[in-house]
């Protein structure tokens, strides 16, 4: 019979519509525009609708997700102290050469200091490879999770300078809890080993 194949196909669509409504009733509460609902629709046994209404809902990103680097700073007496020592390893390993660093100088003696005066990343050149975060010996540069960076002015908004790049260590701990815990553990071990060595000498 002509049209049978199309009717069969439409039946599949109809089943999805009905499934969506029965799932809504079964869930009992509103399962849209909240995190639980998005997670429920991501599971392997989800039925009915499984799309995400993007600007209102967002898929949770994995911890290892990386998008544009940022600099980590520690809060000390209300002062922002960047972990960065301006060693320049990140700008050397960067395959697209999008990192520029200027080392700070002591205003009186003119000696170079272990802190950056300027730090700029051109995010249009950055290809999010994550090498800078991987090879940084001080855990000072990390990859961000914020992927909504569209703007109208490239020169104004797509070159991130140090004031925009600096983000607190607490932010880093929030977006990458497992990595942060591992790093803290490694740091504590290193400290303990140093203390041990000082005692023996």
């Amino acid at each position: 019979m002509k049209g049978q194949g199309i009717l069969k196909g439409l039946g599949v669509t109809l089943k999805h519509i009905i499934d969506t409504y029965t799932e809504d009733i079964k869930a009992g509460k509103d399962r849209y525009y909240n995190e639980d609902g998005v997670r429920q629709r991501m599971t392997t046994d989800t039925k009915g609708i499984f799309t995400v209404n993007y600007p209102e809902e967002r898929l949770p990103v994995a911890e290892a997700f990386r998008y544009v680097p940022f600099l980590v700073y520690e809060e000390e007496d209300g002062q922002k102290v960047p972990r960065c020592t301006a060693c320049g390893i990140c700008s050397k390993v960067c395959p697209s050469q999008c990192i520029w660093i200027t080392r700070a100088e002591d205003p009186e003696t003119g000696k170079p200091q272990k802190t950056p005066a300027e730090f700029s990343i051109d995010i249009d050149l950055c290809m999010n490879c994550g090498y800078c975060a991987e090879y940084c010996p001080f855990d000072a540069i990390k990859m961000d999770h914020d992927y909504e960076l569209a703007s109208y002015d490239r020169m104004e908004n797509n070159i991130h300078h140090i004031d925009r790049l600096l983000k607190p260590a607490s932010y880093y701990a929030r977006i990458r809890p497992i990595n942060f815990a591992l790093e803290q553990q490694a740091k504590a071990e290193e400290e303990a080993r140093k203390a041990e060595r000082r005692k023996t000498h």
Binding site: K2, I6, G9, T44, D45, A62
Partner: protein, 219 residues
């Protein structure tokens, strides 16, 4: 995406917690179920059948002459898959069939993708059962490797066909020449033969059935 995940001597980081269980559920439950559903929705759909059957035929001889690869070649009746013809990686350990269809028309090129999805799920089911424990990166990570002088060609069976990389080194740390054999670009060269004698309206269906990636076509 797996961008920058593979390294010389391993991978950059371990799998996240709980991913193995998630993949297991995907390959045993969700994917087979969804593929079967798409099957019900499209394979016998009269519009797909009438627009696809007998349209844009590429004979096996033409497919070989145009160096077509992947699903385009296999839909024309040539059972050639690099995973079977020249096994690389661990593909010799997996039990899978090389999908092949014999008409070489748009409809067969559409069907062969279903066959290949099913075979891929089979491979995934075997792969997830045998992930070994151990070190994730065997050697010290480095962002720059000293390469000896010489040239090399490596190829894999990508979703569109044979994906090859030809590298010539002059001994420095960057390649002296680097060429990608992109399957989409080479499959596209057969478009003329497929289109001869067809209606203009069928061009879209034929072009769609080759399944090109424009990033690969731009050489």
């Amino acid at each position: 995406m797996m961008c920058n995940y593979f390294r010389f001597g391993g991978v950059v980081r371990d799998l996240p917690e709980g991913l193995e269980e998630h993949i297991r559920k995907l390959v045993y439950e969700r994917l087979p179920r969804q593929v079967d559903e798409m099957d019900r929705y499209l394979v016998e759909n009269e519009i797909v059948v009438s627009r696809g059957r007998g349209v844009g035929v590429l004979t096996p001889e033409q497919a070989i002459a145009y160096s077509a690869v992947g699903p385009v070649l296999r839909a024309s009746g040539v059972p050639y898959d690099i995973r079977r013809a020249d096994p690389y990686g661990i593909y010799d350990r997996f039990d899978f069939d090389v999908a092949v269809r014999y008409h070489g028309d748009v409809y067969d090129r559409f069907l062969i993708r279903y066959d290949e999805i099913r075979q891929s799920i089979r491979i995934l089911q075997q792969a997830i059962a045998g992930i070994p424990k151990g070190e994730i990166l065997a050697n010290k990570p480095a962002y720059r490797y000293k390469m000896p002088k010489g040239e090399a060609y490596g190829r894999v069976e990508g979703p569109k066909g044979e994906l090859g990389f030809y590298v010539v080194s002059d001994g420095s740390d960057n390649p002296w020449r680097y060429h990608v054999r992109a399957p989409s670009f080479i499959n596209l060269t057969g478009l003329r033969e497929m289109c001869l004698g067809e209606k203009v309206a069928d061009l879209v269906a034929i072009l769609g059935s080759i399944d090109i990636v424009l990033g690969e076509v731009d050489r």
